[in-house]
Amino acid sequence: MNQPSDFIIVAAVLISIGIYGIVVKRNALRLIISIELIANAVNLVIVAFSRMLPNSQGQVFVLFSIAISAAEVAVGLGIMIIAYRFYKDIDVTEYKNLKN
């Protein structure tokens, strides 16, 4: 039988993979992928605890969280498309106009 700590360990591994992606990758799409991985790991922990209690409010919260991150991805990809139109590149180190 699975225990809640198993799910927490899987979520921790997913979060650390996401942190690695955010630190190392400079491609804007890979950054969005890393953010999605971290958000999913958090959802997994919330559902695991909501099963343990058991309590339906955790699942309702996860439904809201999924919808919010869908909106976030839509806006992020829109911003990425116009940045690509200006710079002809999706490497975030090329976006230097705000620096000076």
Binding site: M1, N2, Q3, P4, S5, D6, F7, I8, V10, A12, V13, L14, I15, S16, I17, Y20, V23, V24, K25, N27, L29, R30, I32, I33, S34, E36, L37, N40, N43, L44, V47, A48, R51, M52, P54, S56, Q57, Q59, V60, V62, L63, F64, I66, A67, I68, S69, A70, A71, E72, V73, A74, V75, L77, G78, M80, I81, I82, Y84, K88, D89
Partner: protein
């Protein structure tokens, strides 16, 4: 101790999460992201949260991963292949993620989380209860969330609009 289903799902999820970040072609990365999100949906099924699993498949695998793949196709090809990262940055990223993992492991080891357990005696959360809560106590949140989603989609469309094409199509005066 975890059972075989759980171990298989976690290998699928974590392995395709690594592939989605480390594959050379960005398109394969998007597909691996979809597989990883499907693995998370499998975890939700294990946890008796079938409605959340269905929502996850519909929104994440059906919308978010497909949106990422479409964006890969809109971007020209030399940008979708990973350039070589500097070794220094890569090592620092690995060290940072391992440090987070060690810190989190220490927290888990020193807390009472490992003594928690699922019991089969308590029934799983009923879907009817989720629907009732969404329509009664959480109904204002649902309305605000609908407006947020609509605003985000309209904002994304307005951001990605091309003004130069529009001017060309206007009739001459």
């Amino acid at each position: 101790m975890a059972d075989a289903m759980f171990i298989g799902l976690s290998i699928l999820t974590i392995g395709s999460a690594i592939i989605s970040l480390e594959s050379r072609e960005l398109l394969y990365g998007g597909i691996a992201l979809a597989v990883s999100l499907l693995g998370i949906a499998g975890f939700f099924v294990i946890l008796d949260a079938t409605f959340v699993a269905m929502f996850q498949i519909a929104v994440y695998v059906g919308a978010v991963a497909v949106l990422v793949i479409f964006t890969v196709m809109l971007v020209r090809s030399p940008n979708t292949v990973t350039k070589r990262e500097t070794v220094k940055r890569k090592i620092s990223g690995i060290i940072l993620s391992l440090a987070f993992l060690a810190l989190f492991g220490a927290f888990i080891g020193n807390s009472a989380v490992s003594q928690f357990s699922f019991s089969d005696a308590v029934p799983a959360v009923d879907i009817k209860e989720i629907g009732r809560e969404l329509l009664t106590y959480y109904s204002p949140v649902l309305i605000v969330l609908a407006f947020t989603l609509a605003g985000a989609i309209i904002g994304a469309l307005a951001l990605a609009r091309r003004e130069d094409i529009e001017e060309k199509n206007e009739p001459a005066k």
